[in-house]
Amino acid sequence: MLNDDGHAAAGGEGEGDLLLWILVWSELAAFGVLLAAFLIRSLFEPEAVLLAKAQLSPGLAALNTMILLTSGWQAAVAARDPDKARWPLVFAALAGLAFVVVKLHEYAGEIGFTGDAAVASFFELYFLITGFHLLHVLFGALVIVVVAVRPSRANVHLITTLWHAVDLIWIVMFPVIYLV
C-alpha cells in the first residue's frame, strides 16, 4: 500500500517492523557483548581500570549525553509528525554531528594513553567500544540528513527507531565506562 508520495504507507508500524527490530537487536546484542567483555576485563584488572578511568573526561561524556538526548528528542518529534519531519531531522543530525566533534576532542586527550602499558588494555577496549558507537552516530547522522531531504513515513520511522537504539546504548555505556 502506497501513500501520496508513492512510499510504503505507515511504514513500519506493523508487520514491517520485524526487520527493523532484528536490526535493533543486532546492535543491542553486539554492544551487550562488548560491554560485558569490558566489565569482565575490569574484574581481573581493577587497579589498572581505576587508574585508566581517572584519565577519562566524564564531564565531556556527560555533555555528549545531553547532546544525544537532544538529538533523540528531535528525532522523536520528527517521528510523531512525519509530514513536518524535515527540520527536526536536520536538528537531530546536527546534534549527532556535535556528539562526534565532542568525542573526537575527547579522544585527542586520551589517545596518548594507548602507549602506556599500565592502562593500554583498558584503552584498547575503550576505543573499540566507544569508537564503534561513534561510527554508529556518525553514520546515523548522515543517514538522517539523507532522510531529511525527502522524508517518507517509513524512512523516518526506520531511522528514528535506530537512532533511539544508538541513544539507548550510550545511556547504558556512559555509567558503565565512565562513572562506575
Partner: protein
C-alpha cells in the same frame, strides 16, 4: 500538540536525570549508594527513551520489556562488578 508536550516533558526529565547522574558521580564518587543511584538513573533514562521517544508506551509492551531487560541486565552486571571490586 499533546504529544509534543509529552515529548518535551520526557526530554526535560532525561536532561535532569543525566545532570543528576553526572553530579552524583562527581560529588559522591564511588560510594555504594551513589553508584546504585547512578545506575538506577541510567535505567530510568533508558525506560523513558524506549517508552516515549521510541513510542513503545501503550504498544509493543513485549519489545519494551525486552529492551528494558537488556538495559537492566547490563546495569545490574555493572553494579555486581562494583560490589565485587569497588
Amino acid at each position: 500538540m499533546l504529544m509534543q508536550r509529552l515529548l518535551m516533558r520526557s526530554y526535560i526529565a532525561l536532561l535532569a536525570m543525566a545532570g543528576l547522574g553526572a553530579a552524583l558521580a562527581a560529588l559522591a564518587g564511588r560510594h555504594t549508594l551513589a553508584v546504585a543511584l547512578i545506575l538506577a538513573l541510567a535505567f530510568a533514562k533508558g525506560r523513558l527513551v524506549l517508552l516515549d521517544f521510541m513510542g513503545l508506551r501503550g504498544r509493543g509492551r513485549g519489545m519494551a520489556a525486552a529492551c528494558l531487560a537488556w538495559c537492566g541486565l547490563l546495569l545490574a552486571f555493572a553494579f555486581g562488578r562494583f560490589l565485587l571490586v569497588p
